[in-house]
């Protein structure tokens, strides 16, 4: 492919948006999608051409929040104006969970792990152990001294760009609902807190990246500490089940206390609600969130026992009883 920045003519593929695999330009008038695609019998990691086409349509229409076009079987990446045709991806954009898990996995792996010099995926295979081997094109750069008369003698060095191919094994994300593994609201809220601190310290908007920051908070991948467990799965299994046994033993003890009239039913209900809520949150969002919910319930009980009950409820009760008795006494003395 020609390098547009160093030549007066564009790539021969420019007419179809530098993506001959995805676009056609039959009359030299207007680029359009190469529809319809017939099943050509090719096997793209278990998918036929129509499935790949459907996925790429989703990609191009923004369905998967991928902000640049990424071909599955061809070199794609529109030329970046007069400069080299490599854009800085900048951030990881992830496909949502779709009906096309292999493609999702490939894109997820490719988008998060590829080196910065990649310009397109040429092909991929998925091994029986679910590892993905992606063959991708990347730009090589070299320079040479200008020859006599070349470029009018303006430049001493002529930049040369070429495409090469490389095959790399990528890590495979877990199957399932990939969207749920993104940061979600928790980190978005943290982002808002950070913005608030920026405002308080008069550094707000310095970089003009507020919205982008929040978007990234919500949609980038979780860092390692909340990433799915791998080697630690067995340990985590033991820990979670031991946690369950402590919860069951504690709740059973509460039941015993209620039967001995040593605990109110309201408090027992509160404990039961706390266990159920933290369990639900833990199952839904992850263990750390469930543990945090449990701590909040525990803190609420401690706050009631140590602050609200002795300093608010008890004085109010004493005050009410005193005034009520006073009122009754006065009422009786006046009327009888």
């Amino acid at each position: 492919m020609a390098y547009s920045g160093g030549q007066q003519v564009f790539s021969p593929y420019a007419a179809m948006g530098n993506s001959p695999g995805m676009m056609i330009d039959p009359n030299g008038e207007l680029t359009k999608d190469a529809q319809p695609v017939q099943d050509n019998g090719m096997d793209y990691a278990g998918l036929d051409a129509i499935a790949v086409r459907a996925f790429m349509d989703g990609v191009m229409s923004g369905l998967y929040n991928i902000n640049f076009m990424f071909g599955s079987n061809t070199m794609v990446m529109a030329s970046g104006g007069g400069s080299a045709g490599v854009q800085d991806v900048g951030q990881v954009w992830l496909p949502k969970y779709t009906d096309n898990m292999n493609m999702c996995n490939v894109f997820r792996a490719a988008l998060s792990d590829v080196p910065s010099d990649i310009v397109g995926i040429k092909g991929f295979t998925i091994a029986p152990d679910n590892s993905i081997y992606v063959t991708y094109s990347y730009v090589t750069h070299s320079s040479r001294p200008s020859e006599e008369g070349e470029d009018g003698g303006t430049y001493n060095l002529i930049d040369q760009y070429a495409l090469s191919e490389r095959t790399t094994k990528f890590s495979l994300p877990p199957r399932g609902d990939l969207q749920k593994q993104q940061h979600g609201d928790f980190w978005a809220i943290l982002g808002y807190v950070g913005m608030g601190l920026d405002v308080m310290s008069n550094t707000a908007g310095t970089y003009g990246k507020w919205e982008q920051t929040i978007w990234e908070m919500r949609n980038s991948w979780r860092p390692g500490y909340t990433a799915p467990l791998s080697k630690w799965t067995s340990v985590a299994k033991v820990l979670s089940n031991l946690g369950w046994s402590i919860g069951i033993a504690g709740l059973a003890h509460d039941g015993y206390m209620v039967s001995q009239n040593s605990m109110s039913q309201i408090r027992f209900t509160y404990h039961l609600g706390g266990l159920a809520t933290s369990t639900y949150i833990g199952a839904k969002l992850g263990g750390w969130y469930g543990a945090a919910a449990g701590v909040i319930f525990w803190g609420g009980e401690q706050a009631y026992d140590r602050v609200v009950e002795p300093y608010v409820v008890e004085p109010a009760r004493v005050d009410f009883n005193y005034k009520f008795n006073l009122f009754i006494n006065e009422f009786i003395n006046k009327n009888f």
Binding site: A45, P174, P228, N241, S245, I246, A249, A252, H253, Y256
Partner: protein, 171 residues
């Protein structure tokens, strides 16, 4: 390479071990919690409550385990990852079915959310999962986690994950 799958003790242990860990924890932590909180109480009055708490988890796990066992008892699955061919053999009915991956219409894999996201398993039944394999000719097979702990055949978009709080196969 050919892989053979059937219900194994190792897989059963992998699925059922969670509830045994819970039982172990209750036996250890139950008395500790009791004596820490009510040193003068009668431990025998506490045992029924412990038992009820344990049964709340043991009954669902046992039910799902027995159901999975009944589904895949006497079944054997052979998978040739080079030829992409699956052979399902029922030793009790003495039948053999063979089909290629391209004959598969859908695979619906039912599992809990924690298992699907490969994060820490939360409930004792979280590792139980099963796959329904629908073939184009109408045949249907159900492979449970007692046979294959996590079945992920390379069938592309024909593979779909369904999450369920309690993956008990009703039908």
């Amino acid at each position: 390479m050919k892989h053979t799958y059937k219900i194994t003790k190792a897989n059963e242990w992998k699925n059922f071990s969670s509830i045994l860990i819970v039982l172990f924890g209750i036996i250890v932590f139950g008395p500790i919690i009791f004596y820490l909180r009510t040193p003068n109480g009668d431990f025998f009055d506490y045992i029924p409550f412990l038992l009820i708490g344990f049964l709340l988890f043991f009954i669902p796990v046992s039910a799902i385990h027995l159901r999975y066992q009944s589904i895949n008892a006497d079944m054997e699955m052979l998978y040739d990852d080079m030829e992409k061919v699956i052979v399902i053999r029922d030793t009790k009915k003495n039948t053999v079915s063979e089909f290629g991956l391209d004959e598969i219409k859908h695979i619906f894999h039912t599992m809990t959310p924690a298992f699907s996201e490969k994060r820490m398993l939360w409930f004792p039944w979280d590792s139980y999962n099963y796959s329904d394999i629908f073939l184009k000719d109408g045949r249907k097979y159900r492979i449970t986690s007692l046979m294959v702990y996590r079945l992920e055949l390379p069938v592309g978009d024909k593979y779909e994950v369904f999450t369920s709080f309690y993956p008990y196969p009703n039908s």
